[in-house]
Amino acid sequence: MADLKTAPNIAAPDDFYADLLAAHEGLTKAESDAFNARLILILSNHVGDREILRAALAAAAAPKK
């Protein structure tokens, strides 16, 4: 299992969260969807490591009911 960080790792989490929402401010649903997709691709490339990306995809999946 790759080393996907699941412990808190973002300094000033409230500020980051506000930045994330601010980036979507004024966007339509379609524009927000496109923004999110670009963001995911940018962050994924930054991570690069396929093991970690696989672990992140698994972590993002909704838990089975």
Binding site: D33, A34, A37, R38, I40, L41, I42, N45
Partner: protein, 545 residues
């Protein structure tokens, strides 16, 4: 087809090249029997026939038609098939006529997002790709078949011979054939079915052909124009002239351009094919002032599928009959040529009684591996080009948007991954990899990469038989095991001052001995010659281990 334009005389694809002629097989009571019958004189059937005839295996090729492919279809041929064609003695006319290209441009919406250069690796005789109309491709194969015939090789092309029934008998095949003079029957030890994606033989034998249909239609048009578009591959996603869909422009010889326009699923094919509907679409794409003539128009739905097995007793399927891919990535004819490259030497050994029948099972193993790789790649390209859900379109557009500003996104853009040959990793024919520090690209199972040898090339000296390639190593002139011989080819890394040979075949090693198959794939390799090890690998590579 009424769209076809006369550009001075008859087009090659309107000219019968091997017209029907009555043969003695058709006389009553002839009971004709042939060692190998090939059904289909498309690119794959012709390649198989040439390969076998070069090895003096008598072949009869039956085709219900007598001309080359109607219109162009395949246009893009990769390096590996060109190398195979060199082995078959007809690489030169293809490459001389073909258009070499390296630059591609990708457009999204109204703008160009990036361009790329294939930057082909140096030190290969053949370019990464050529563009050539399928009808020329087939014409040169037919000419090569006739050349072999003149040299006395046992190859016969029978046009106007339509195969209407095939029965696998356990020790051979019985078939009946319809001709303008009526039907006749014959039998064969082996039948190679190269009868295309719609393979009637597959249907006659009740065999499966499963996979995915892509719910989309593509208008494929070849136009003749004097335009100064550069020799590049241009691909559009969602352009203004074909909203929500894709488009492709690619150059072929003789001022012929290939245009692909995605049309979507719910269309009236017959309407869309009419010149009065096609021409405005092309004008919107090319601009009003560009003069062009339509050479050929067709509408395709693409599929990715394969047979579960390519070998059914004495019937062997190859090319589109065995597997079909969408054309993004130019894999159809390219992979079909790798089928016959793989099959013919095995069939010859089995026919000569030098290898067991089970050697043919490895044709299935190795080429199904290849087909799966091609299907995976073409399915992925098709999924990128024609997104099947809202979210896949969102990601697709995100990748395209980002590709304009960031290099990282360009490898995600998939307008077709161009065909590369597969490595037969895990094949039962592979022997040991005993070359410590040897390059991964020449591991057992891999196709030999070309390399310069002085002012010649390595691949021109390989193939058609087993060989022992010795690089700065001592080997005997020939090594033999139960009638199968491998002859020596001794070279030195000093023969290639560019260092490509050493980089591709030695890596960190200072010497190497390679056992190579007749299809130019690596069977096994070592640092030095060891007779027992080479003989064992020769047995493994011929299914006798």
């Amino acid at each position: 087809m009424d769209q076809t334009v006369e550009t001075g005389g008859r087009k090659i694809f309107e000219t019968p090249l091997y017209p029907y002629g009555r043969t003695p097989d058709q006389e009553p009571g002839a009971n004709a029997h042939h060692p190998v019958v090939i059904v289909g004189a498309g690119p794959i059937g012709l390649a198989a026939a040439i390969d076998l005839a070069q090895m003096d295996v008598p072949v009869v090729v039956l085709d219900d038609n007598d001309k080359v492919s109607w219109g162009s279809r395949a246009i893009c041929f990769a390096k590996r098939p060109l190398e195979i064609l060199d082995r078959l003695g007809c690489g030169d006319p293809m490459v001389d006529k073909g258009v070499v290209w390296n630059v591609g441009k990708v457009f999204f919406d109204e703008r160009q997002v990036y361009d790329f250069n294939l930057l082909p690796e140096k030190g290969h005789k053949r370019p990464a790709f050529i563009n050539l109309q399928q009808y020329y491709f087939e014409q040169y194969l037919v000419e090569r078949a006739f050349e072999l015939q003149r040299q006395g090789k046992p190859i016969e092309l029978r046009g106007g011979n339509k195969v209407v029934s095939v029965t696998e008998k356990g020790d051979g095949v019985a078939l009946s054939v319809d001709t303008p003079d009526g039907p006749y029957t014959m039998s064969a030890d082996w039948l190679i079915a190269c009868d295309g994606a719609g393979s009637p033989i597959r249907a006659m034998m009740g065999l499966d052909f499963v996979g995915r249909v892509f719910e989309d239609n593509f208008l494929i048009a070849d136009v003749v124009m004097d335009a100064d578009f550069p020799t590049e591959r241009w691909f559009w996603f969602d352009p203004p002239f074909n909203r929500g869909q894709s488009a492709l422009l690619h150059k072929q010889p003789d001022g012929v351009w290939r245009i692909d326009l995605q049309l979507g699923w719910n269309i009236d094919k017959d309407e869309e094919k009419k010149p009065e509907n096609v021409i405005p679409r092309l004008k919107a794409m090319l601009g009003d002032d560009v003069k062009f003539e339509l050479e050929w128009v067709s509408i395709y739905t693409f599929q990715c599928r394969r047979m579960e097995k390519f070998r059914h007793g004495h019937v062997l399927f190859a090319g589109d009959a065995a597997h079909q891919v969408s054309p993004f990535g130019a894999r159809g004819a390219n992979s079909g040529l790798q089928d016959t490259d793989n099959l013919c030497w095995k069939l010859k050994l089995v026919m000569d009684g030098l290898a067991p029948d089970s050697l043919l099972e490895t044709y299935d193993v190795e080429r199904i591996h290849g087909a799966d790789e091609n299907i995976l790649n073409s399915s992925r390209s098709t999924d990128f080009i024609t997104p099947k859900s809202e979210i896949s379109r969102i990601f697709r557009d995100a990748a395209l948007d980002l590709s304009e500003r960031f290099d990282f996104a360009r490898p995600l853009v998939n307008s077709g991954r161009l065909s590369v040959p597969c490595v037969y990793d895990g094949s039962p024919l592979n022997g040991p990899d005993g070359l410590a520090g040897g390059p991964a690209r020449t591991r057992p199972g891999a196709p030999c990469p070309d390399a310069p040898l002085g002012d010649a090339y390595l691949l021109d000296r390989l193939g058609d038989e087993f060989q022992l390639l010795a690089i700065d190593a001592d080997v005997p002139d020939s090594v033999e095991d139960c009638g199968i011989a491998a002859s020596a080819l001794r070279i030195s890394s000093a023969d290639d001052p560019t260092g490509d040979l050493a980089a591709r075949y030695l890596g960190d090693a200072t010497s190497a001995v390679y056992l190579l198959r007749p299809d130019q794939h690596v069977a096994a390799r070592w640092t030095d010659y060891d007779e027992a090890a080479v003989k064992a690998a020769l047995r493994t590579a011929t299914g006798r281990a």
